[in-house]
């Protein structure tokens, strides 16, 4: 039968080629026009340790890593034991017969990975052996893979030809070895190459690129999983005159340094994860109070406290929206796909410049470590905003009025004191009631500048809607499509803009009988925020450190939708 989509999980020890095989497969597939997504997990130790990576190859754009595994590639016995349960009925298990023997599992195909690789004279071709084997299972034409290998290893070196030969041989050996066994999954439908260039990258990389595309000039950070790759990317690439990327001594330094740079006129950003974001609390309040543009990225991991550094969760929403004492309410943009990592970062920088204050950009471990092909952003189409800079002479009242005003640039006329105490128009500290009223209203009025009606919706007429946020978008949308197929009457709303929310979307949600919010936290954080905004929201929560399974969402959403339908009938 024809397949549009298949999922392979590679499991073994760190260092056995688990990751390179997954990425190789993904690259091979994307190069011949398929869509691919890989999701890597971390072993909790530094070297070795059990690890696995999943690759999903599809004719259509991919939304998530996928629930059920079609093929498990088990590099060792432990991997087999831990993952064989995930293999769906009719699935196949390729096991490294150089490492262990497997009897009594009818799904098993032994593949002497190391030995076959060796026989090609190129030990590093082990992953090609595996890829060849997989290609056979889904009947991927040999030409496809050869093409990929040729492309990949044509680097204008003398050794090219030889390497290409050995790799093609490795794939062929893998292919033949498996074809000997009668196993097959079916026929992968021919690829429908997306038009336009594509990029294959991870969420953290897309986010970094987006920030740079929006004109980022200044970045400081402190290492923390899963945000560290952003720091490393910036230190390598945000270089040259007028740029600065640096590792500071703590997240307290990160946020206050970023505030200094934002004040001095730069587009500045820092990224961290839960514990680091909590340390920034006081500094975030200062940014709001002194009106300093900057972007703070929270690549969420499992919490609280040191929590679960290598797991994914969506539990920082409340503390990012209200991060500090006093009346502070920060803008929040939460990205849901690798592509949104790019465009969300662009928006976050634009928002910071537009309203002159800190913007929280929420990502998640599951996005940060997900590699995926996305349409290459067209920079000429990206609208980049910069703050309104004061151009006049001295004697300027930087904080005058109840609304946004132009921001002076140190070195130029317009000197004032950026002040974290309540202040008057020129930034001197004051305690007068009228001032506190004026400045409080001024700070909140600026949020209005960020109200944009950017959101997705389907079946707006339905009284029930599914409204996920962040990376739950992927599985939620897969589930939603299935529910629609099944004829369930339910609408779909999604936005990256969690504060301020798109006013029209909020209006529509307020009219719903029930708004179902699937989210990866215990408290149902977004659900409770929606309720406080007058929406009849109920959350579907999960707090396992893992993303939702599509199948779980399908059943839990339809349950809730039907229940409310029954109620409506009764009423």
């Amino acid at each position: 039968m024809e397949m549009r989509d298949f999922v392979v999980r590679f499991a073994g020890e760190g260092g056995q080629g688990v990751v390179t095989s997954a990425e190789g497969l993904a690259q091979a597939s994307t190069q011949v026009g398929y869509h691919a997504l890989t999701f890597a997990t971390f072993p909790s130790q530094i070297l070795g340790g059990p690890t696995w990576t999943q690759a999903r190859i599809s004719v259509d754009p991919v939304r998530g890593p996928g629930d059920a595994v079609d093929v498990l590639v088990a590099f060792n016995r432990e991997a087999y034991d831990n993952h064989q349960g995930e293999v769906k009925a009719g699935g196949v298990i390729i096991f490294n017969s150089n490492d262990f023997e497997l009897d009594g599992d009818s799904r098993g195909v032994g593949l002497p990975i190391d030995q076959l690789a060796k026989s090609t004279g190129n030990n590093r071709a082990a992953n090609m052996v595996v890829i060849g084997a997989l290609a056979h299972l889904v009947n991927m034409p040999k030409e496809y893979l050869d093409e990929f290998v040729i492309k990949r290893f044509t680097r204008g070196r003398a050794s090219d030809e030889e390497i290409i030969k050995s790799n093609i041989l490795a794939m062929t050996l893998g292919r033949e070895h498996v074809s000997a066994s009668e196993f097959s999954l079916g026929e992968l439908a021919p690829s429908q190459p997306p038009d336009g260039d594509q990029l294959m990258l991870k969420g953290n990389e897309a986010l970094s690129l987006g920030a740079i595309a929006a004109g980022l000039q200044f970045y400081v950070g402190y290492p923390i999983s899963p945000a560290t790759p952003i720091l490393l990317y910036m230190e390598r690439n945000l270089v040259g005159e007028g740029k600065f990327a640096y590792q500071v001594s703590s997240e307290i330094e990160s946020i206050t340094t970023v505030l200094g740079a934002g004040f001095a006129g730069k587009k500045a950003m820092t990224a961290s994860s839960g514990p680091g974001i909590s340390l920034m609390s006081e500094g975030l309040g200062l940014g709001w109070m002194a009106e300093i543009p900057c972007v703070i990225v929270d690549v969420q991991r499992g919490g609280p406290a040191t929590g679960l550094p290598t797991k994914t969760e969506q539990s920082d929403l409340l503390s990012c929206m209200w991060p500090a004492h006093g009346d502070v309410h920060l803008p929040v943009i939460a990205v849901g796909t690798v592509e949104e990592c790019f465009y969300g970062a662009v928006m976050a920088l634009n928002w910071a410049e537009r309203y002159q204050g800190p913007v929280m950009l929420l990502s998640e471990m599951s996005l940060a470590e997900r590699a995926q092909n996305i349409p290459k952003p067209d920079l000429s189409k990206i609208m980049v905003e910069s703050r309104d800079v004061y151009q006049g002479s001295n004697g300027y009242q930087r904080y005058a009025g109840r609304e946004l005003s132009a921001m002076p640039l140190p070195g130029r006329p317009g000197a004032y004191v950026a002040n974290g105490s309540e202040h008057d128009d020129i930034g001197d500290t004051t305690h007068l009631a009228e001032r506190h009223v004026q400045m409080t209203e001024r700070r909140f009025s600026k949020l209005k500048l960020l109200e944009e009606n950017l959101y997705e919706r389907d079946k707006p007429e339905s009284p029930v809607a599914v409204v996920p946020w962040g990376a739950t978008k992927g599985p939620a949308r897969e589930a939603y499509d299935k529910l629609i197929e099944a004829g369930v009457d339910v609408g779909w709303y999604y936005t990256m803009l969690l504060n301020p929310m798109p006013p029209k979307m909020l209006e529509e949600l307020r009219r719903k009988e029930l708004v179902i919010v699937p989210e990866l936290n215990y408290q149902g954080q977004f659900g409770s925020i929606l309720r406080s905004l007058g929406v009849k929201a109920e959350s579907i929560t999960q707090y396992t450190g893992l993303p939702f399974k599509v199948s779980d969402l399908v059943s839990r959403i339809s349950e809730m939708a039907n229940a409310s339908q029954r109620e409506m009938v009764r009423a």
Partner: protein, 288 residues
């Protein structure tokens, strides 16, 4: 901006040492500008929270830019300002509590980086603005509102701390000598690296040390203040260490190392190894 702004109602107590520091800073900034020919707006004063930090609102004459943030964070804010705009003259003003207690964590890193800013620390051995609690420089055994039975921890020695952390310019001064102090601050601003001018600026309300510093012949009180002799070789770390061990309140430049490149200079150099790419070029790496 006191004179010009009736709405700003904080005032230093009569006789507060901070008056002298303000004057010194005004003089130093003006000197510095006259040399550089730059306008006052080229100066940024990053202030800590305390009576001392309020200096940023009390400067008279032409106004520099200011950043009056949160308690203890003036150094990292200054790091951001300076590395964003190396052409600006960035000055930090903070108290002993702000700079050495809650903000103490930031001294070492800026010293290691040799961040090119000048920090003026106004040490009165007490928390003034919160009304008289003990600070890191409050002496062992002293009774303050927060040490009713005497302080039971040792005081810190800021000068030795700065030297150990690798601060590349260290001066020690007294608020009662505004012109001399102005000169030290000016040198600190001119120094191509991290400069700290540590000033004894007595709190006449909660810890009046004027007498002890200046001495009182009649009462037979020896002054703790002493001028650092010209012979002192401030470029020699060992001599600086020895000088600090002598105690009291030395006035002058304790240590200076102008050879060490500042952070922005080292950064420039490191770029030679780097290649700056456009966004388009950066995206290329992810094409297939």
């Amino acid at each position: 901006m006191s004179k010009k702004n009736p709405e700003y109602d904080f005032k230093w107590c009569p006789g507060c040492g901070d008056f002298g520091v303000r004057r010194s800073l005004e003089l130093a900034m003006i000197d510095h500008l006259e040399e550089s020919g730059l306008p006052m707006e080229n100066n940024v004063v990053v202030a800590g929270i305390g009576c001392s930090g309020n200096l940023v609102h009390l400067l008279e004459g032409p106004q520099p830019y200011g950043f009056h943030g949160i308690h203890g964070r003036s150094l990292p804010i200054a790091l951001g300002v300076k590395m964003a705009r190396p052409e600006l003259n960035v000055v930090v003003v903070a108290g002993d509590g702000d700079f050495l207690s809650i903000g103490g964590e930031h001294i070492g890193p800026q010293a290691s980086r040799n961040l090119n800013v000048c920090a003026v620390v106004m040490d009165n051995g007490v928390y003034g603005l919160t009304k008289g609690q003990s600070s890191p420089t409050t002496k062992l055994g002293e009774i303050t509102s927060s040490t009713p039975y005497g302080k039971i921890e040792m005081q810190q020695n800021p000068l030795e701390l700065y030297l150990t952390l690798g601060v590349s310019f260290i001066a020690s001064g007294f608020s009662g000598q505004p012109r001399l102090l102005a000169n030290l601050i000016k040198q600190g601003m001119d120094h191509p690296g991290f400069a700290i001018v540590h000033v004894q600026s007595p709190c006449t309300t909660y810890n009046d040390t004027f007498e002890q510093i200046k001495g009182d012949a009649k009462k037979g009180i020896e002054p703790s203040l002493w001028q650092i002799p010209d012979e002192h070789d401030a470029t020699d770390r060992a001599s600086a260490y020895g000088l600090i061990q002598q105690g009291g309140l030395p006035v002058g430049v304790v240590y200076r190392d102008e050879a060490r490149p500042a952070l922005n200079q080292r950064l420039q150099e490191s770029w030679e190894k780097a290649r700056s790419r456009t966004t388009e070029e950066l995206m290329k790496a992810f094409e297939f």
